[in-house]
């Protein structure tokens, strides 16, 4: 199989718009959480979220006008706008905007989302009920469909290779990157723009996830304290929004054009829990098999893994189950591993989470720095693994693994390795 490397990164997430702002905030341990104040939350159990810092586009704020014209933007849900912003950053970073027919047909897109245009669907349903079918916009369907994030990116940049999308709840971003890497490895494309995007922050999703008892509800007055993976006081995840997109490229293709290489995708594992629609299997077997499969594909031993970016959503059950699976995987090497959950700072970006966390894993390799797990004041369980509580780590990171697990019992692990120049 052909080797696949990462040559471009892009993100807009609660820690900032742009790789460097978001990464600096992650390393500094800054929380992206705040009280929701742009719609009514007084009757909701969870009244907080990790929201993108909106502004004029300076200092890492997100200005939608910078990424998509108003005329186009009003036709689509925000997950498509976020995907366009992250894709533009990643393609610019990679310096890959193909213009020849040959290059365009060898470049594809695979951007997923967990739930796509939920808010637009909510609005459309209201319009249909209150004002009738003739008032429903012709853009109601194409502006909400999950694969239209890929569609819009493909059209804007003339990417005529595979045009695909993944929908696997909170594993979406990781599956998108893993599957896109395989398309390159199998010679279906030379370059893939891959990742995840999500725009769930509204009453419908906050009420829906609260109904599944997945969200934090005890920190409405201290939002920045709510996402606290592995801490004894954790009580659920904090919803986030945004997108992460990477440019994946066949190794020789990247080398030939002198592209900067962030790392190689050396491993990708997938598994199913076959257990419950929302709860992870208690023995952590699905997570363990997923990481094992990725490690086997990578051809490495557990001792070679320097950093794991955990799924770690801050739910009472999930965090310890994942930790147990990682301990089982690492065996005697557990004491040398650093594992952190950047969801402590970004919140849970659902379908975008795996892509944003893959980006953080690659930046950990680039800078030999590991972002902390913030709010980890009193660990609920003892472990030999360094969970980087409240402070970033300076340590050599050559191999990083990123975990993502989703509703439906769907698991994905990605392994990245430094590529020596």
């Amino acid at each position: 199989m052909r080797r696949v490397v990462v040559t471009g990164l892009g993100t807009v997430n609660p820690l900032g718009c742009g790789i460097e702002t978001a990464w600096a905030n992650a390393l500094a341990g800054n929380s992206g959480a705040s009280r929701v104040d742009h719609f009514e939350v007084s009757d909701l159990a969870c009244q907080i979220a990790c929201q993108i810092p909106r502004g004029d586009g300076s200092n890492g704020t997100f200005n939608p006008d910078d990424w998509m014209e108003v005329k186009e933007r009003r036709k689509v849900d925000d997950f498509i706008v976020f995907a366009m912003a992250a894709a533009e950053q990643a393609l610019t970073d990679a310096d890959w905007k193909p213009t020849s027919y040959e290059d365009q047909t060898r470049s594809g897109v695979l951007i997923g989302s967990g739930i796509g245009g939920l808010m637009g669907i909510e609005d459309g349903a209201m319009t249909l009920r209150d004002r009738g079918p003739r008032r429903l916009s012709p853009f109601f369907i194409p502006g909400r469909l999950i694969n239209l994030a890929s569609g819009y990116v493909s059209i804007r940049y003339g990417l005529k290779g595979p045009n695909h999308a993944v929908v696997t709840a909170c594993s979406t971003g990781a599956h998108a990157i893993g599957d896109a890497a395989r398309l390159i490895a199998l010679d279906d494309a030379d370059v893939m723009v891959a990742g995840g995007s999500e725009s769930p922050i509204g009453r419908l999703a906050l009420a829906g996830f609260a109904a599944c008892r997945a969200l934090s509800t005890h920190f409405n007055d201290e939002p920045e304290k709510a996402s606290r993976p592995y801490d004894r006081d954790r009580d659920g995840f904090v919803m986030g929004e945004g997108a992460g997109v990477v440019v994946l490229e066949e190794y020789e293709h990247a080398k030939a054009r002198g592209a900067r290489i962030y790392g190689e995708v050396i491993g990708y594992g997938l598994s199913g829990d076959a257990y419950h629609i929302t709860a992870p299997s208690e023995d952590g077997d699905g997570a363990y098999r997923c990481m094992s499969a990725a490690m086997k594909r990578a051809g490495i031993t557990a001792a070679e893994i320097d950093y794991i970016n955990a799924h770690g959503t801050s739910t009472p059950m999930g965090d310890e189950i994942e930790l147990g699976a990682v301990e089982r995987l690492m065996g005697n090497a557990a004491g040398n591993l650093t594992m952190s959950s950047t969801k402590s700072a970004t919140g849970h970006l659902l379908g975008a989470a795996g892509a944003v966390e893959a980006i953080f894993s690659l930046l950990a390799i680039r800078d030999n720095k590991i972002p902390p797990t913030i709010n980890l004041d009193n660990p609920s369980i003892e472990t030999a693994i360094d969970l980087a509580p409240n402070a970033s780590r300076d340590r050599e990171v050559n191999v990083a693994l990123s975990n993502s697990f989703g509703f439906g019992g769907t698991n994905a692990s990605l392994v990245f390795r430094r590529v020596d120049a």
């Binding site: 014209e69 108003v70 005329k71 003739r134 008032r135 916009s137 012709p138 853009f139 194409p142």
Partner: protein, 78 residues
């Protein structure tokens, strides 16, 4: 320019994101103003909303230019 023409022009500028001076009587939504077939469907809906009229599909198909829209609306609204 009539009141109806002004209101039509405003809607076209807003929906298609074009410069007001391009929205002339003879301007074709698709050929001159960059609309696609879905944009024209949405434009007709916006006219219906603004002028509180119903524009049947077969009539909508004949509205290809700014002037077509103005003429239809002048005839079909008080």
């Amino acid at each position: 320019m009539s009141d109806i023409a002004e209101r039509v022009k405003k809607i076209v500028v807003e929906h298609l994101g074009v410069e007001p001076e391009k929205v002339t009587e003879n301007a074709s939504f698709i050929d001159d103003l960059g609309a696609d077939s879905l944009d024209t469907v949405e434009l007709v809906m916006a006219f219906e909303e603004e002028f509180a009229v119903e524009i049947p599909d077969d009539a909508a198909e004949t509205i290809l230019t700014v002037g077509d829209a103005v003429k239809f609306l002048e005839k079909n609204t008080q």
